[in-house]
Structures are given as structure tokens and as C-alpha cells.
Amino acid sequence: MLKKLLSATALVALTTPAFAGGHLSWEQMTEKAQNEEGEVTWFVWYFEDRFREFTQQFTDATGIKVIIPDGDHSTNIDKMIAESGRETGDIDVLAYGVDMLPTIDNALFMSLANLPEDAGRISDLVGIDGGDVALAYWGNQTGIAYDPAKIADEDLPQTPEDFAAFWTANPGAMGFNYENGGSGPSFYMNILRTLSDVDFNDGETSPEKLAGIDGGIAFFNEHAENYEITASNADSLTRLSNGEFTMVAAWEDHMAGLQNIGEIRDDLKFYIPEMGMFGGGNYVSIPKNAPHPAAAQLFVDWLTSAEVQTMFNQQFGTAPMHAEADDSAALVSNAMRERQMPWAKKPFRDAVEERFIEDVIQER
């Protein structure tokens, strides 16, 4: 597969003419990346250890070393912004949640137009257009992970009313987190969204708009005794796997990844309720002051290729971010994926999270 990828890359490289305006041709870019730069630093805030192993394939194929520092989501973004005034920064490639793009000045990123043309790549995810500065490399989806030994598929809750009925009939059998991961927030926000007329796709926030979710807040308080709050995404899945819960809020890729390495039971299943839950993914961009811009472009080209996207699907359970990639290893069908909702826009999303903590969590 890698040979095919490299052959394709080489073919494209050989057939791509030099760009006008003094830009390097892809062939020259590749040569520069391999012979002059020799390394690329990828700031990605999750799965660092597993990505270090995975990107070894890129190093084996190109000879370019991939360095992945540890760092969390906001810290990596803050770092890029903080060092944007420097002529040369530390970040070659930055990974970030798709919903963060509108909050970052796109002028800080270099254009990815130099990459070989590939119509299968995705630069517009859940309505957030990456333009020519961002490409999707990781598709993910929140939903409900469940233990099929305890609940039949036809009994799975699909609406807020269904969840309330399940909680009442099975006190303490469902858990979700409100911090340390987005699966729980996705769950409660979609309940709040379904029980209100508020537009979660509009980031504008005001006290009047926040008052629109009063009904949902009351819903959670009314049923507070019958659901559990967990400590994190991982805590939810671990406790589901241990038999403590019947269902928990979870990320599809997180769950598939843990199942693949045997951390949680592989008989656990995942679904997206009919009310919809948030999904999206992650973009990669190259800061304008990247220390190794040629190697960074080569890396992004590799990361967003159909072959790598297929491997991501097989190893991590992601939704592939390339039209020609194989998605047969996903936990949900394409039909069910239609239920995907775009993440609530910030700053309204932050305001809802804060209100949920203030008026639901603090009342427990």
C-alpha cells in the first residue's frame, strides 16, 4: 500500500510542473524535504504515543523523521498563536478540532495549494470550510456505546423521552462525562438542543438565548438521581466494559481504538441516536513560520491520502477523510452516520457548558 502511495506521489511529482511565481515544483519540494529538512514536527494533542508508531511508516518511506511532542489541544493552538510573531516557529504541522478553525486567524497558516491535486481530500467538514489552509485527516463521531448483553438493539433510546424512560427503568445504568472529553457534552447538548428551539449552529450568545435551554436543564435535574456522571471519556468506556453501566456516551474512534488494542471488550457496540449527536473531525494546517515547510507539505499529503485514511479506519476506527478510502471498519453504518450533527458553535457552546455545570452539576 505504501509502495502504491509512494509511486503515486512520485508520479504526481514527476508530472507536476513548477509553480509559477518562484514556487517549488512538487518534485523539488520532495527533494528539499528529504535532503535539506529531514524532519517534521507534528503537534497533535491525542494518541501521541500511537501516532509516533504509526508515522514510522512515513519515515520509512521518505527518510523524514516525524517528531510528535506531548501537548494538549488548547496548549498547542496557544503555542502556535503565541509564536506567530517569530520568523521561524516550532510547529510544522498543527492538528486541531474542526470547530476550532473559525476561532483561529487563518492568515497564520500557509496555503496548501501546492499539494498535488487530489479531489478526494476533504477541506469542508460539518459546514466549516477549511479553504486552502486546512485539510481534514481524522473523522470522528460521538454517540452511545452500549453493552448488547444488557440491552437489545430495538430497545436503544433514540430521543430525550426515551432516555428519560430508560433512566427511570434502569437507575444508574447510564453514565456520561461533562469534562475531560467531548462525548458527554455532545450527549447533554443534543438533549438540550432537541428540547429547545435554540439554534446551536449560531455561535452568538445572550442571556435570552441561554434561557431557551431552561426546559432541558430542568429535564436533567428532574432525572438527576437516575443517571451517573463519569470522570472522563475513558472512564465511561472502562466502566461500561467492566459491566458497571449498560450504556455511556462515547467517541466512535476512541472506542474502536480501545477495542483494537484489547483495552475494552470487543463485543460492546455503538450507535448514534435518532435525535442526533455531534460529529466532525480534525484538520491539519501548516503555520506560515513552520521550520520545515517542505517536509510539512509532504507529511500532510501523506496523512490525507486515501491509503492512510483507510489505515486510520482500520486501526483507529475513524471515519475516513478521503472519498476513495475504505470505511468498512467503522462502528456505524453510513445510514446511521446521517444522524451526525455539527458541533454547537462557540462561544454559545462554551456558555451552554458553563450553564450545565452551574445549573445541573452544581445541583447534584
Binding site: I229, A231, S232, E244, E358
Partner: protein, 284 residues
């Protein structure tokens, strides 16, 4: 002449203490300034009381303050209270006392996050504790013990981790008390409690103060234990600060940070003064 000597001493101290004062001072200055609206990384900067007013009106803030003080206070008190009898027991060497002492201090070598996950495994729904309780018939079925609302598990872990540190400080202090003093007290009719209350505690109060202060500050600012095994219906101040920081709300994070620093300072002074007042009857 005297001024020159003072200046010389200050100059000599500057490379060491000066740097510490500069760096700590800079951090404290930035945090305080940010809490009043300055150094806003993502928006307009300027003097504002808005961040203090908004946050202090929140239930989550008030609850975080109360909860962190609760954890800090009880961690310090329980650790010291448990360390005292052990320090007295180990005051005079006996066969195996070195081994006992080493075992008691072992938690110092275990990193907090490792201890938290180990503890989580023990108390989890199908963990050893639940299995044992079900096996003995005390529990009919496994119970949900992790992330308990009263932070009992968290306090247990704080004491497990901090007691050896208190023991380390107190052992030295009680070993420094001569047998003559204790024998004299005994001759005068002092029982075990009176000897502790009127002789041992007053003579080791400095070590007690150091242990109380250091454990209090550490537990007050706890993040690791809280996010792993702490209650999920309240946040520690460190956790609350991180909550804002992760959302790029540096000014709000600074308000919580300054609160944490102020509480550390005030709490440490109160604990130290109370210990001295209770066991020495005076502040000096």
C-alpha cells in the same frame, strides 16, 4: 558603614534569591494583572472588575473554594494526626524499626497519578474491595465507590500520600526531645496524653507547622487526584482553573489562580498560627 554592609549582603544574595523573587514575582504579577483584565491573550486588555464580579457570583466558584479548603484542611490535619503516633512509636530504634519506617515512607516514591489509578482499580465496581465485600456477604452486590460525593476516597489517598512526608518531619523533631525531659514529666505525674499535649507537641510544633503548611498547600491545589477519583459534582480550584484555561479564558483562569494563591497564603498562616496557639499557648 551599616548601609554599605546591608547593600553588600543584598548584592551577594541577588544571584540566588533575586532570581527566585523575580521569577515568582513575575508570575504572581501576571496572574493578578490578568485577573483584572490585563494581558488578555485573545481579546482586548484593560482594567476591569468584570471577571471577579462574574466568577464570585457563580455557584461553581463558591463550591470550588469550599471544596478545596475542605480537602486541604482535612488532608493536612489527618496526615499529621496519623503521623504523630507513628513518629513516637519509631522514636526509639527497635528490631525492624528501620524496615517499618521504610515501608511507611514508600508512598513518597509512588507518583500521585499512579497511586490514583491503583486506588481506582481497588475500589472500582468489580475491583478487589467490592469483590471482597460481596464475598464476605457485607455487600449484596457491588457498589459504586469511585468518585464519591464526600471525597472520602480522595482524602484517603491524600493522607496515604502525605502522611509519610509528615512522618519524615515529625520523626526528626520527636527524636530530638531528650528522654530526660519526658522522664521528668512522667515523674511529675504526666500521663501519656499530658506528655504529648504539654511536652512533645510544644517541642515539635515547628515541624508540625511545616508539615501542616506544606500538605495543606499541596492538597488545596490538587488536580491529579481530583480528576481521577474526586467527586464529579464539584471541581477543585486547580480543576476549575484548567477548565477556563482550556477554553482560552485566561482572565477567568487567573481569577481562580489568584484565589488559589491567596487561600494558600491565608490558610497556611491560619494553620501555623492555630498549631502554635493550641500547643504553645502563644503565637511566638
Amino acid at each position: 558603614m551599616r548601609l554599605g554592609r546591608t547593600a553588600t549582603i543584598l548584592l551577594l544574595l541577588t544571584p540566588g534569591i533575586g532570581l527566585i523573587v523575580f521569577f515568582i514575582g513575575a508570575v504572581i504579577y501576571i496572574a493578578i494583572a490578568q485577573s483584572f483584565g490585563y494581558y488578555n491573550l485573545l481579546g482586548e486588555s484593560g482594567y476591569s472588575l468584570e471577571f471577579w464580579e462574574t466568577l464570585t457570583g457563580r455557584k461553581a466558584y463558591a463550591r470550588s473554594v469550599r471544596y478545596s479548603l475542605y480537602v486541604g484542611f482535612w488532608s493536612a490535619i489527618l496526615s499529621v494526626a496519623l503521623a504523630y503516633p507513628l513518629a513516637l512509636w519509631l522514636r526509639k530504634p527497635f528490631t525492624g524499626s528501620l524496615t517499618v519506617s521504610a515501608i511507611l515512607k514508600a508512598p513518597l516514591l509512588v507518583h500521585g497519578i499512579v497511586a490514583a489509578f491503583l486506588f481506582l482499580n481497588v475500589i472500582s465496581f468489580h475491583g478487589i474491595l467490592n469483590q471482597f465485600m460481596v464475598w464476605t456477604g457485607i455487600f449484596d452486590e457491588p457498589r459504586r465507590l469511585q468518585n464519591d460525593d464526600n471525597a472520602i476516597g480522595l482524602l484517603f489517598l491524600q493522607v496515604w500520600k502525605n502522611m509519610p512526608f509528615a512522618l519524615l518531619l515529625l520523626t526528626g523533631a520527636v527524636q530530638a526531645i531528650s528522654d530526660d525531659v519526658l522522664h521528668a514529666a512522667q515523674d511529675l505525674g504526666a500521663g501519656a496524653w499530658a506528655r504529648f499535649r504539654k511536652v512533645i507537641a510544644p517541642l515539635s510544633v515547628s515541624a508540625m507547622q511545616a508539615a501542616l503548611i506544606i500538605i495543606f498547600i499541596g492538597a488545596l491545589a490538587d488536580f491529579t487526584f481530583q480528576t481521577t477519583i474526586g467527586p464529579t459534582n464539584r471541581q477543585s480550584l486547580a480543576q476549575y482553573m484548567t477548565f477556563f484555561k482550556e477554553r482560552g479564558r485566561w482572565n477567568d483562569a487567573a481569577v481562580v489562580g489568584v484565589t488559589l494563591m491567596a487561600l494558600s497564603l491565608v490558610g497556611a498562616i491560619v494553620l501555623a498560627a492555630a498549631a502554635r496557639l493550641i500547643f504553645r499557648g502563644r503565637l511566638r
